[in-house]
């Protein structure tokens, strides 16, 4: 990778940045999936399967993190970067470290919740959160698999997993600290380039389902209703006008 940089100069660095960007985006995706999954821990869908999925996602995330870290540190250590590329690299760096921090926070939470809700004990109760379905699809997305992996997790993974999780948590923590020390990126000088509000994606919100029961979204419906009525009235008025003009004309 570094050799490539030396050979291709600007173009190589650009390609490298693209690679890094792809990696960071993937990491983002995986972290988001991990977030989804971790919200189920301790809830009604908690099971060995869930923990297994969590572990898989986590491993993938860490792998990605290691890769991108390697590349990014290499890029940023390189003093001979042109300013625009350097800015991009810094942006990527900020994204990368933020996602890693999110991952770390999620891991901490999963760890502590997992301790309170050990699956292996028989008397453990799970909180009835209302969740029913599985999260296999989320994991599939995280692992970039086309089909969900339906392998069952081994039964007694629980205690082992907790220990592993603790170790991994420490590792990620260490990684973050290392990153901070090795690469001198002044975060407050990094300026985001994207828009403030993300463009709306998708049509309805799932919460719209609840609008049947709730009062507030009725405002939207009312507004739509009002607009409808207003449109109707306007059209009627227009029709009346036309008729009267026609009558006048004829008359």
């Amino acid at each position: 990778m570094d050799g490539k940089v030396a050979d291709d100069g600007g173009r190589g660095s650009q390609k490298l940045l693209e690679e890094v960007r792809a990696l960071v985006e993937t990491l983002n995706k995986v972290v988001a999936c991990y977030h989804q999954l971790s919200s189920c821990v301790g809830g009604s869908t908690d099971s060995g399967q869930l923990r297994h999925e969590l572990r898989q996602t986590r491993e993938r995330a860490q792998q990605l993190a290691l890769d991108s870290r390697r590349l990014l540190t290499a890029r940023l250590r390189d003093r001979s970067l042109a300013p625009p590329t350097r800015l991009e690299a810094e942006l990527l760096w900020v994204s990368f470290s933020s996602s890693l921090e999110l991952l770390h926070a999620d891991m901490c939470k999963v760890f502590s919740v997992g301790q309170n809700f050990p699956l292996s004990s028989n008397t453990g109760v799970l909180v009835q959160t209302g969740m029913q379905g599985e999260t296999a699809k989320v994991t599939a997305r995280a692992l970039s698999l086309s089909e969900p992996d339906l392998n069952e997790a081994p039964a007694s993974m629980d205690r082992l997993e907790q220990g592993e999780l603790e170790a991994e948590k420490a590792r990620v923590d260490q990684m973050i600290e290392d990153m901070e020390q090795r690469v001198n990126v002044l975060r407050w000088t990094v300026e985001a380039q994207g828009p403030q509000n993300a463009e709306p994606v998708g049509s309805g919100s799932s919460l719209a389902l609840l609008s049947v029961l709730q009062a507030e979204p009725e405002q939207h419906r009312c507004k739509r209703g009002q607009m409808f009525v207003a449109a109707l009235v306007v059209s009627l008025a227009a029709a009346a006008l036309l008729l009267s003009v026609g009558v006048l004309y004829l008359g």
Partner: protein, 679 residues
């Protein structure tokens, strides 16, 4: 500007959150399929979601579990909702329990409030961005504000936040519809708890953060000898502390409460109305510091104690008026200047102290206050190196004097009774709701404190200018007038005859018998031009009449004569001399010889009646007393007894005369330096 999350590994302990563990245990109990809360399914438009519980079930379960009544159970349940362990499905913004069929659901443990981790801003930003992605313009006003703020200060992360929001949205889409609904509800409930809308009371209000976990067990220390020894010492000291019997302290509390009960705006009605409740500022206007007519309640407060009277500016003004009538205003003035010294700026302290000495403490001061010898001595000694609390002893003395003496008389005086009669008692306002709203709309801010302070300063200046010289009292011994050494005897004699003009008390530079060596005295004379002037005023006429004075080393008179005479003073002196002489002669005291021996006599005369002329031995202790007047100047060890002057006696006599004289009072530290220079 958050650069990054503070990764403290959960080491910020928020003490009020220590109860969370108990609530968690309770929630877990509620999950029990047999003994827990019964759950139902929530029916939505296209799907059903299980695990919904009704409010009344929750309350009933809690009441059953703890064996308490329904109201308490409801408040415990409300607490659980407020902390975020249970969230309402309808009306999700109000975090309370309604003990009816409204539905609730348990929050997933991931979203439980944790003592170690506060809700992070990054997560909040991602959540808001996600909501924006779902549907534009669905954010509430406060949420939009938060979002803009976060955008401002987390700008460097913003790309990440938007990207993460998108990813989370897409990841969420991978789930089945009912689960998606549940997850959205959970997240929304979490953020209602941790970022409440403005104006709501949040249970997450946790106070200060601490560095140690209140829940953690104490580290097991090795219990060495030293450890036990320290505990023993500590407990011994605890025992040795002085204690007050609870009957005594409780009695004091009860007494305080019974007297002040009606004056507490929380416990009793505030007349005319409490401005904080009704937005009507009449109460404040009626109770301004320098209002003309105080309210009845305020006047009643003055009767509680002297401290109340003094701390209220209006009361103090009233008291000042009373003292003015009684001609003991200098006490209060002194007390006030002492306060000013204590609380004033350090730069002016030295000057202030000098000023105070000159005005109040020095012998011959225009507003001499009456404190005992020991206190005076301590004060004067302290004034050599003045600091903030140098006048503390004197101030306390004067305070107690006023409290024990003047305060009682004030309470019975006409001034106070007048004020009491004129005091108003306003009617209670009875505002209707509409009027209250109007009042709220008409609220306007107070005057700026700068303006208020300026007004205060102006008031003070006006007060000062209008005359510190109200009726000042004069001490018999105010001005060290040498020639009046003879006069004291006469004064005393005159006193015995009745109220007549009494010359100000002299210093006694002319005493040949004084124990102190003459030179410091002469220096003292030098440093008091007023006295010298008087001295000089005697001029030749005095010389023959006062051979005792002639005994004084000539240099003084030479120096005296070197100064220009003051005509008016001369005249007055002469007249005084003549008058007193005549009186003296009237008494049948004799001649110059008598006069000569009179000087020691004056000392003795100071003590009381005029002594028979042959009372020589008595003079011995007297010189010391006289010399005490000079002690201030010459640093002779003291045994000072400054005689109390009855103000009513003095002021009539002395005002006219003394007003004319210009006295220059030298502060002790100044004279000492002069001494050093001269010597």
């Amino acid at each position: 500007m958050t650069i990054r999350n503070v990764r403290d590994h959960g080491q910020r302990y928020r003490p009020r959150m220590a109860c969370l563990k108990k609530v968690e245990a309770l929630v877990l109990e509620m999950q029990d399929p047999k003994s827990g809360v019964k759950s139902q399914t929530q029916r939505l438009v296209i799907t059903t979601i299980p695990h919904a519980i009704t409010g009344e079930d929750i309350v009933a379960w809690v009441a059953n579990r703890f064996n308490i009544d329904a109201r308490e159970a409801q408040s415990i349940a409300t607490l659980m909702v407020a902390f975020g362990y249970i969230y309402p499905l309808q009306d999700h913004k109000r975090l309370i329990i309604k003990a009816d069929t409204s539905l609730y659901r348990f929050q997933t443990p991931y979203f439980w409030p944790a003592q170690q981790w506060p809700a992070e801003d990054t997560d909040y930003a991602i959540y808001l961005a996600k909501r924006n992605i779902r549907k534009k313009g669905v954010l509430e006003l406060y949420e939009q504000e938060h979002y803009n703020n976060l955008h401002k200060w987390m700008n460097h992360k913003w790309d990440f936040i938007v990207m993460q929001a998108k990813e989370q949205y897409r990841a969420g889409k991978e789930r089945k519809k009912p689960d998606r609904v549940v997850f959205d509800c959970q997240e929304r409930a979490y953020w209602v708890v941790h970022r409440p809308p403005p104006g709501t009371i949040s249970a997450m209000d946790y106070g200060l953060e601490r560095l140690t976990d209140p829940n953690a067990d104490e580290v097991k220390k090795k219990k060495t000898m030293d450890y036990y020894r320290r505990i023993v010492i500590f407990t011994q000291q605890c025992i040795m502390r002085s204690r007050v019997k609870s009957s005594v302290s409780l009695g004091a509390i009860v007494k305080y409460i019974t007297t002040c009960k009606n004056h507490d705006p929380f416990l009793a009605m505030c007349l005319p109305s409490n401005p904080w409740l009704t937005d009507d500022t009449t109460y404040w206007e009626l109770n301004m510091p320098n209002v003309e007519i105080p309210t009845k309640m305020r006047v009643e407060r003055w009767t509680f104690g002297f401290r109340e009277l003094l701390s209220d500016p209006r009361g103090r003004a009233d008291f000042r008026l009373f003292l003015k009538k009684e001609f003991s205003g200098e006490n209060l003035a002194f007390w006030e200047t002492c306060e000013d010294l204590k609380w004033g700026a350090a730069a002016t302290m030295k000057d202030k102290a000098q000023q105070i000495y000159k005005t109040f403490l020095a012998p011959g001061a225009p507003r001499w206050i009456n404190i005992d010898g020991k206190t005076m001595d301590i004060t004067v000694k302290g004034l050599v190196h003045p600091h903030r609390y140098v006048l503390d002893a004197a101030q306390t003395h004067i305070y107690m004097l006023m409290k024990k003496d003047s305060f009682g008389r004030y309470m019975k005086s006409t001034v106070f009774k007048e004020t009491q009669k004129k005091a108003i008692s306003p009617e209670e306002h009875k505002f209707s709701d509409a009027q209250l709203e109007q009042n709220a709309k008409k609220r306007k801010p107070n005057l700026s404190p700068i303006v208020l302070r300026q007004r205060e300063e102006e008031e003070k200046a006006r007060l000062a200018a209008s005359g510190p010289m109200d009726i000042t009292q004069l001490c018999k011994f105010t001005a060290p007038v040498p020639h009046l050494a003879v006069y004291t005897g006469i004064c005393e004699a005159q006193l015995s005859h009745g109220r007549e003009r009494q010359p100000p008390s002299p210093g006694f530079p002319t005493l040949p018998n004084s124990a102190a060596c003459p030179s410091p005295i002469s220096v003292a004379i030098d440093s008091t031009p007023a006295s010298e002037r008087k001295f000089e005023g005697q001029g030749g006429s005095a010389a023959a009449q006062f051979p005792s004075i002639a005994e004084v080393p000539l240099e003084t008179r030479v120096s005296a004569s070197a100064r220009g005479p003051d005509e008016s003073q001369l005249a007055s002196q002469k007249s005084r001399v003549a008058l007193s002489l005549s009186r003296f002669l009237r008494r049948g005291c004799g001649n110059a010889s008598v006069l000569a021996s009179l000087s020691p006599k004056c000392h003795s005369a100071m003590g009381g009646r005029v002594q028979p002329l042959s009372r020589e031995p008595l003079s011995q202790p007297q010189p010391k007393r006289i010399a005490n007047f000079f002690q201030i100047k010459v640093d002779i060890p003291p045994e000072c007894r400054i005689y109390p002057i009855d103000s009513e006696d003095e002021e009539n006599e002395c005002t006219s005369r003394v007003r004319g004289t210009v006295k220059e009072i030298i502060c002790p530290w100044e004279s000492i330096t002069k001494q050093d220079q001269a010597g």
